[in-house]
Symmetry: C2
Subunit: 104 residues, 2 copies
DNA sequence: CCCTTATTTCTGTATATCTAGAACTATGGC
DNA sequence: GCCATAGTTCTAGATATACAGAAATAAGGG
């Protein structure tokens, strides 16, 4: 992964509202969520949400698909996987250093 | 991990210069690097580097330790592990979706 | 004590971000 | 065509960031 893309994605996630938006979508899974439903969950004005969504979409972390009148948003898992792989530097890091962070 | 800390760490990493700094330190490993050596590698003015280092330190991603006249910087692995764990949402994500990102 | 090396803090400026109301566009039903 | 619903784009102002030169601080040597 390119350093620049990673930086832009990290910056996109490095905002409390956008991080909440992204996590909400990630938890929603494959079905995604319409913008309206997302707005009710994160509770920000529509224009603000739209702005943040735009940034997440620009970095490839989120995708939108129109279904009739509603726009369904989804977290793009491969993008996050690549980003995590980038941060992990190909697994060079020690995984079991801390008491938490273990995957069952 | 708290959402707010994660957001601040992601924002800290979401800048090209800081990401380069962090990666340089991560690659340097346990021995770390003095600020001066870091400066030569990333090639930014000392004041700019100091500013960026300060932000990385504030979020807990980097630590400094004085050794006589030089300040040695190190990447804090547990912090990055926790952040990766946070992004991974406890391993709910599909790991083998992409062609890359597999750890040997 | 002064000097040198190492690094930070101060300062100012240009630029980008965040926020949100208002106006606009898109889609479908009647 | 017109209306309602769903979202976006426009606009603007407050705030934060990035950058880098200059001045200040820290530590050790002579």
């Amino acid at each position: 992964m390119e350093l620049e893309l990673a930086a832009r994605q990290l910056e996109a996630l490095g905002n409390l509202t956008r991080l909440r938006v992204y996590r909400t979508l990630a938890r929603a899974g494959r079905d995604g969520l319409p913008v309206g439903a997302l707005q009710r969950r994160v509770d920000v004005p529509a224009s603000t949400l739209s702005h943040h969504l735009h940034r997440l979409i620009q970095t490839g972390l989120v995708a939108q698909e129109r279904q009739a009148t509603t726009l369904v948003c989804r977290a793009v898992d491969p993008a996050m996987n690549a980003l995590i792989g980038f941060l992990d530097e190909g697994g060079h890091r020690e995984r079991s250093a801390g008491p938490a962070s273990m995957s069952a």
